[in-house]
């Protein structure tokens, strides 16, 4: 009997601990498939964050290091400088990357550190129980913004992809989503391209993936997918924000 679908070999057999309807599992799989398809998975080294993906080292079959909160890009820098020929990636959430770890991501990006960052943006602190994140939308209710995020009081959401795209160091920055199959396929392509460019030594690469958190958003998985599309995407538009390999005036998404 022909095998038409199977679990990627770059993921362990350990069941994910993620909540029902959370899209972390999909994103893990996309990363694992991309590494495998590029033939770099067996020698890759990943860096796990602090946040919902803290146990990422249990799921990827490659060598993994667990970093302190926000420090994954610095840890990945140390690894990459010792192992310049290996694929090195960080897998970080929005609290980890866009709040406590802003210095590390900005400087890894501006150095053109030859690593790939998978930035999972779900507009909330998931693991700690649904507190306001730097990416939380204006008016969004969280456990630490119970009246809705008041921009006059605590500022506006951080658009990381747009911000990092202003730097010279990044080779490739794209924002994708995983709320439906066509977008999942586009996300996979983006992740694969990011790793590809890393291995070609082009510079820093990052894929921002819009993700759901049904548990802390207080929604069903179905509602969460819709909320991502309706509420998050206007603030966080999808597209390629930086691609040094793109031809001038090429794809419309380029800015």
């Amino acid at each position: 009997m022909a095998v038409v679908f199977q679990k990627t070999r770059m993921l362990t057999d350990k069941p994910f601990h993620y909540c029902p309807g959370c899209t972390h599992g999909i994103i893990h799989r996309l990363v694992a498939e991309a590494l495998d398809e590029l033939g770099i998975g067996d020698t890759a080294i990943g860096v796990a964050p602090v946040g919902c993906a803290v146990f990422a080292y249990d799921y990827f079959t490659c060598d993994m290091m667990e970093a302190a909160h926000g420090r994954a890009p610095a840890v990945a820098t140390g690894i990459k400088r010792v192992c310049p020929d290996k694929a090195v990636f960080t897998y970080q959430g929005d609290g980890d990357l866009a709040s406590i770890g802003t210095a590390e991501i900005v400087h890894a990006a501006t150095r053109g550190e030859k690593i790939t960052t998978i930035f999972v943006n779900n507009a909330i602190y998931g693991m700690t129980g649904g507190q306001m994140a730097p990416t939380t939308l204006p008016g969004q209710v969280t456990t630490t913004s119970p009246y809705g995020r008041d921009v006059n009081h605590c500022g506006w959401p951080v658009r990381v992809s747009e911000m990092l795209a202003t730097l010279n160091g990044p080779a490739y920055i794209e924002r994708v989503s995983v709320h439906d199959v066509p977008h999942i396929k586009k996300a996979k392509a983006a992740i694969k391209k990011a790793f590809q460019l890393q291995m070609e030594g082009k510079g820093f690469t990052m894929v921002e993936v819009l993700s759901t958190c049904p548990t802390n958003w207080g929604q069903t998985p179905q509602e969460a997918l819709k909320w991502l599309q309706d509420s998050m995407m206007p603030t966080y538009p999808l597209g390629v924000f930086k691609d040094i390999t793109a031809q001038p005036a090429a794809e419309g998404g380029a800015r």
Binding site: D58, M65, A67
Partner: protein, 549 residues
């Protein structure tokens, strides 16, 4: 071949010679020569120097590179080391080897950039969150800093644990000869285990499975087991890695305990006191953790006093008290904030414990300090002499005011004051020259400060005495009594003159009177003579005149 090297640069070269090819750091004084040297040398050795965006990032880069199996180092100074504590805790938890150099400066807060030993607690108690230990190596010279840095890499690899090289601003900044032949190509110890745990993208094997570098253990029982295993490692480190140096301890009644820069000062003080027969010795911990507790306990056989010297408000002294366990008094002497204790200060502490009177000569650690002391002393003497002269002058002024010739005496007294002031000026000039000569010597700035304080004090005394004398003169001249006496004297002169004028007038009048009378008498006499002459003339004329008339 010996080469004169700055402590910081020597440490950097020693690390490279020990196989360190990765350095991540962030600038902070007084350790900047380490990253600067690394940035120049590591590319020559196909290594990697990277200036991180913060100490936080730097220690996490170290974590990554160490996790990938490299010999890696970072360096910083106190405030920067505080920032690294998060990463250090993770590195210990994940059992990774690395070397961290701390060139300690004065704290708390931004503190100073001068040498201090105030990070002892932070270093020996872990420093970050969670309970853990690290070997803390405290060099007492540039050569030892070099040797210990190279050893640090071996110790780190052996136990898969960070090692701290704890220097201070002085160890980092001073230049001393280093034996470069000994330093060169320091091969890792032969017994070091292979780094099968490295997360370097290797193909998993039975000996070297997939690497997961982690310090997260959600199950409390698993974490307790992890900590118990780590503790066994710390116990092994305590057993095998303790280092210290003993000097003159065989008969020591006073046992000094000091490390790093402070131990050098203690050594000089010990030698001076030994010359005077004081039984004082020095125990210098080279590892601050593990602490040489057993070595200290052995000195209890002869010790009557322990004297702990630190550039802090007293941190290692706690460990000495734990070791001595109340069996002998433990005393502490420390300077802080970047101040470095002097030999004289330590000698004074020893004298006090030994019940020996201070020997002024012994208090001088060098010719310079003697010259300064002499200068201060001669200034004091000059000040005393001036004071006396001024006092005498003041008295004379006072007496002069009472005398009728007070104007003249005041003038004389003023001249004497001038002469005395000139003498002071000359003595001050001389002292100034001595100070200048002494200052041109490259040694010990802090001694200059100390002596300057004495000079200041003496100058102040001179100033005070001058002020006092001035006040006395002023008081004497402006006192109502004096004013009154001056007034009285003036009045007396006036009276006398009036009286004299009167007398003269009277005299002159008398003279004129006498002249008048004399004139009258003369006129009368002349008339009498005239009359007599006429009478005489009449008689013969009558005889003859009859004929003639």
């Amino acid at each position: 071949m010996k080469k004169l090297m700055k402590g910081n640069e020597a440490i950097a070269e020693a690390a490279i010679q020990a196989g360190c090819r990765y350095f991540f750091g962030y600038p902070i004084t007084p350790q900047n020569q380490i990253p600067e040297y690394m940035s120049k040398r590591l590319p020559q050795e196909n290594g990697c120097f990277l200036q991180a965006e913060s100490e936080v990032a730097a220690i996490n880069m170290v974590y990554g590179a160490a996790g990938a199996g490299a010999r890696v180092m970072t360096s910083s100074s106190s405030p920067g080391i505080s920032l690294k504590q998060e990463g250090i805790s993770y590195i210990v938890g994940a059992e990774l080897p690395c070397v961290i150099v701390n060139m300690v400066r004065g704290g708390p807060g931004l503190g100073s950039i001068q040498p201090a030993q105030s990070d002892y607690f932070q270093s020996t108690r872990g420093g970050g969150h969670g309970d853990y230990r690290m070997c803390v190596l405290a060099p007492g010279s540039v050569q030892e800093a070099v040797d210990l840095t190279q050893e640090a890499f071996d110790i780190a690899d052996r136990y898969r644990n960070p090692v701290i090289v704890l220097g201070d601003g002085l160890i980092g900044q001073m230049m001393e000869p280093v034996d470069m032949d000994k330093v060169k190509n320091h091969a890792p110890a032969a017994d070091l285990p292979p780094k099968t745990w490295a997360a370097n993208g290797h193909a998993p094997t039975a000996e070297s499975p997939r690497a997961v570098t982690n310090s997260l253990y959600i199950d409390p029982q698993v974490l307790e087991n992890h900590n118990l295993r780590l503790q066994k490692k710390y116990d092994l480190m305590a057993k095998n890695e303790c280092r210290w140096q003993e000097e003159q301890l065989a008969d020591a009644e006073i046992v000094m305990i000091a490390y790093g820069t402070t131990s050098r000062i203690a050594r000089s003080a010990m030698r001076k006191c030994r010359e005077r027969g004081i039984r004082v010795g020095l125990l210098r911990p080279i590892t601050l953790w593990p602490f040489p507790e057993e070595a200290i306990r052995k000195t209890l056989a002869t010790a009557k006093h322990y004297l702990v010297l630190e550039m802090s408000m007293g941190q290692m002294v706690d460990d000495v008290r734990l070791a001595v366990s109340g069996e002998c008094p433990v005393h502490f002497y420390g300077r802080t904030g970047g101040m470095v204790p002097t030999v004289a200060e330590v000698v004074a502490q020893i004298e006090q414990l030994a019940g020996v009177k201070p020997e002024p000569e012994a208090a001088c650690s060098c010719d310079f300090s003697k010259a300064m002391d002499d200068a201060a002393q001669s200034l004091n003497q000059a000040a005393a002499a001036v004071g006396q002269t001024l006092d005498e002058a003041g008295k004379k002024v006072h007496e002069a005011v009472n005398s009728p010739e007070f104007q003249e005496n005041l003038q004389k007294a003023a001249e004497k004051v001038n002469a005395a002031a000139e003498a002071v000026g000359e003595k001050l000039d001389e002292a100034g020259r001595k100070i200048h000569d002494a200052v041109t010597s490259p040694e010990v700035q802090h001694k200059a400060q100390e002596a300057a304080e004495k000079v200041n004090a003496a100058a102040e005394t001179v100033g005070e005495k001058l002020d006092e004398a001035g006040r006395k003169i002023h008081d004497a001249v402006t006192s109502p009594e004096t004013q009154q006496k001056m007034q009285d004297a003036g009045n007396q002169v006036g009276d006398f003159a009036a009286r004299a004028a009167e007398t003269v007038t009277k005299g002159v009048a008398g003279i004129f009177g006498a002249i008048g009378k004399a004139f009258e008498t003369v006129q009368k006499d002349l008339k009498d003579i005239e009359a007599k002459q006429k009478a005489q003339d009449d008689q013969p004329t009558d005889q003859n005149g009859k004929e003639g008339e």
